[in-house]
Symmetry: C2
Subunit: 572 residues, 2 copies
């Protein structure tokens, strides 16, 4: 496939040279799913030019042209490429033998490999996809060239599949859907990388939070609240001052205050643990928190919700005895399972046990004995909980082994978020302790767990996974009621009253019913309820569900049950 | 009363001079509720010294000594006070006539007034209260003196009332109770002014938040979430960059980021409003948010929850048309009433209409017509809602008139938190608009409302108001179940299961029942439930309520109803 893609790059160059003889060649490699070629053009390409180039390429392919490899001397090469300054520039750097590939009159400086003949290329399995600017050799001090991208596969079907995946990805782009569904926004006055959540986006975050918190509460987690600032001393002890050096936001005032903004949550939580004398009877102590932490990402790199300065992290930790680690880890795995099940993502998931690199024990903190014990515990859990985990040596954290989970979203993209990590080091660094049964001061073990990671990235993921059509329990508007006329508003309000535990809107705009249905569809509202004379008389509603599309009349009572069922079973 | 207090200061000096002849006099004025006198002492006073001084004072009073005023020359004064360097220091500054007050052999440099004779002083109506250090003339470059404080009233009863108020205030101190009830903590590593909320404190905050949010949601408020950082430009436009200049926390990074931390919430919310084109049909748009804002208070002044850097503010705004202002303000008054009712504070409250200073219209932003209209609206609301408000001229905000509410806490301390403010300026500053019915771009009016202000101060207030005995719905632990023996644990767990909508603990420690009851009492738990053989057999519980104290046996079913009743009616 690489040969085909690389050969198509040459054919692209041939076509461009034929149609735009003044074009000067850059380079043209194959890339993932396709190829590109850079040109210095006397004028800009248009979409229409792209079409004619593609057409010409197909014609060239059909001519059964061969690719011939030659080894030449530098002198010959300089002669051949005397009108191609970029090729001459490349020639300077070539230290090994110089090879060219020739197809009819077209010769390119190229080390191959290529197909033998264009017969091997399916002219219906490639497509020129886009034009972009690119600096010569990727250096912004050099000249800007025009890059033409192409996509290529073996078969037409593969190409079509890939194109529709691209289209689907674009349609699901969380930045686009985020605006269409009015979930979040940015402001020039506030600054980039600092998303603000609208009422609808806030509902999504709060519902996710409520869901996680209720699952975690069931397993003994208690919520705490900590501030966003701390003296840098806190992070010198935890080690994060070093780790996040350049990503730290420093805080100062005219009154000479000096703080940093937290780049992680756990150091603050250690200080709540440290605020009292703890006994073995108090353990495990489990804290959770959903708060913003801030990291100074590169200014050019923030965008959408995937890369932001303000990161709302759902974080939780258990402080426990070594003998409690196994049960703690098991419970956290249960939490992760329960949460991802509620989003329909607990399928095709993979589990990894990330262990030490046994060749390099010096890379890790802590006692060998503790490591051995905890890796053994993770293996037992894997067996007992039937996780079918794969062991990954050398993937452990600095301070302990961990379990990582990987899911796939609707488009097959891999998502690696949830993790459970055993940590021997942090409690010791902060000098945390509890009084053991024998009256001794002992360091607790910390078990960290991430469930959804950051709300920002998770929201981007969910928007793209569901293409904005969130599960019923998560939808900002769950039910849209459309009264046909003025006189049906009262009935609509009665229904809303009966549905008051849900998020219901009554659309009172002066629009046609079909336009209102269209509006609710665009907002991906799970249930659209239309009511008029007929429905009032029969105590029914006309229901259009997002899933089934066609409208059916059902008893109001049955609709209430339906909602109840969707909500409690967290149906999609 | 001032005469008595001032005369007691002199008597204090006489007693000290008699008991410690080497003491050198500072000054001794009367203050609120009492008096003090400063001395330079050869040694420190002890608690016991205080007792003997007080005893001597009583003896002096009983001697019916008179206070005689004299006008003297500077030369005479210098002679009289030749051994009192602080008096000589004062003499230098006296430009008017020099007066002294003499009682027997004691003469003080003093302009009075005093009682004629110690007969006028009730020796049982004063008390020396404490010793403190104080710099001469309050200047830290001067010598440190010893200050003895006294409390004095006309009658013994008044003194006793005041002393018990003091004692009660101290007992209720939120810093002390906060630790005893384990509600919040501070850490040297995090820094002062940055409270962290433990699981129990977090429950208080979350319950208050839930309460406010559900009331506000009923009145159409929608929750939004905004970040803590913004470019300073946001506050240059809002005017807060100027107003909070020295209180602003500036944020920077090694990557050259420049932000400030928000000192207020509303500018961010204007940017959510600005993220879409709004129509008159969309108004009112009501946002609410409970987030932390940060202000750089003076480093020496932070302490407890009353003065912090991290201020969690419950803030809300309505963007509306002028014609909607009245209804908006009314609804906000209803919200405030409902919330304070839920805490039993909606009594003995006062309401103020804070209007312009009509003599100085130049002090305010906005159209005279708008001001007139809105002040009229507030007057109408006052009448319609029977608020019995008092008009306070000159108390309006820069940008519009407001309604302020004042409550009294359990100790009679005034609390002025809730406010509803009409704001013509901010929306214009941010160039916010909506499309009117005639298709014009119009600036909305903003109505600001604060309900509980900041969670930090409000929590301090609630702790002190309730002395830690929070209403049932707010209590971190609502019910403590104490099984008498091992075999009663199962029944205890069954009860907990039936009470699962409440916050219930089962005390399983190996302690006596009476000690466990004492523990729950110290935690001010509303209901203590004891279960043993008798209760299991009769399907009852032995209930000890915080309010009634004595234990009574009641049917489990009745207890469930009781809890239901307390929770839903938000009983204290």
């Amino acid at each position: 496939m690489e040969k085909i893609r690389h050969s198509l790059a040459h054919i692209l160059a041939i076509a461009v040279k034929q149609l735009f003889p003044k074009a000067i060649l850059g380079t043209g490699p194959c890339i993932e799913n396709g190829f590109y070629y850079d040109f210095l053009m006397p004028k800009n390409f248009s979409e229409k030019d792209l079409e004619s180039i593609e057409k010409r390429m197909k014609e060239i392919i059909k001519k059964d042209i061969s690719f011939e490899r030659k080894i030449i001397t530098k002198t010959t090469a300089k002669k051949i490429f005397k009108k191609e300054p970029f090729k001459l520039d490349l020639l300077k750097e070539i230290k090994k033998e110089i090879t060219t590939y020739q197809s009819n009159e077209f010769i390119d400086l190229c080390s191959g490999p290529h197909v033998k003949n264009t017969k091997e290329i399916n002219p219906r399995a490639f497509k020129l996809s886009k034009i972009a600017g690119a600096y010569w050799k990727g250096n912004e001090k050099n000249q800007m060239l025009t890059r033409i991208y192409g996509i290529a596969f073996k078969t037409e079907k593969e190409l079509k599949n890939y194109l529709s995946l691209l289209e689907e990805t674009e349609k699901r782009d969380h930045r686009k859907l985020g605006q269409q569904l009015d979930l979040f926004c940015f402001s020039d006055l506030v600054g980039p990388g600092l998303p603000m959540y609208t009422p609808k986006g806030t509902i999504l975050i709060e519902e996710l939070k409520k869901n996680i918190e209720s699952i975690c509460k069931y397993y003994g987690f208690e919520k705490v609240i900590t501030p966003h600032l701390a003296k840098i001393d806190l992070y010198k002890i935890s080690g994060h001052a070093d780790k996040f050096k350049e990503e730290l936001f420093h805080v100062s005032s005219e009154k000479k205050h000096e703080f940093v903004i937290k780049p992680v949550q756990c150091p603050h939580q250690t200080q709540i643990y440290a605020s009292k004398i703890r006994s073995y009877k108090d353990l495990p102590i489990r804290y959770m928190e959903s708060e913003k932490q801030y990291r100074a990402e590169k200014t050019g790199e923030v965008g959408g919700l995937n890369r932001v300065y303000a990161i709302t992290v759902e974080d939780g930790h258990s402080f426990c005895q070594v003998s409690q680690v196994k049960e703690e880890v098991k419970q956290m795995v249960k939490i992760i399972k329960k949460f991802y099940q509620s989003l329909g993502l607990w399928k095709n998931h993979k589990v990894y046990l990330s262990f030490r690199d046994y060749q390099h024990p010096e890379k890790y903190i802590g006692d060998k004995k503790d490591w051995d014990k905890c890796e053994l515990i993770l293996k037992q859990i894997n067996k007992e909980m039937k996780l079918n985990a794969e062991i990954k040596q050398g993937e452990a954290a600095l301070y302990g082994p961990k379990i990582d989970f990987m899911f796939k979203d609707a488009l097959g993209k891999e998502i690696q978020i949830p993790t459970v990590q055993i940590d021997f080091a942090t409690a010791k660094r902060f000098n945390l302790s509890y009084i053991s049964e024998t009256g001794k001061k002992v360091s607790p073990v910390m078990v960290h767990r991430a469930i959804l990671g950051s709300y920002e990235r998770f929201l981007a993921l969910l928007i793209e996974h569901f293409a904005g059509a969130f599960p019923f329990w998560l939808s900002p508007i769950q039910i849209s009621i459309i009264p046909i006329g003025e006189k049906h508003i009262k009935y609509a309000k009665q229904i809303k009253e009966k549905l008051k535990e849900y998020r219901v809107e009554i659309n009172l705009e002066k629009e046609t019913v079909s336009k209102k249905i269209r509006q609710a569809e665009l907002q991906k509202t799970p249930f659209i309820v239309v009511v008029g004379d007929k429905e009032i008389k029969a105590e029914t509603i006309s229901l259009r569900s997002r899933k089934e599309k066609e409208i059916k009349e059902i008893k109001l009572k049955d609709f209430l049950n339906l909602c109840q069922n969707y909500q409690s079973k967290q149906k999609l």
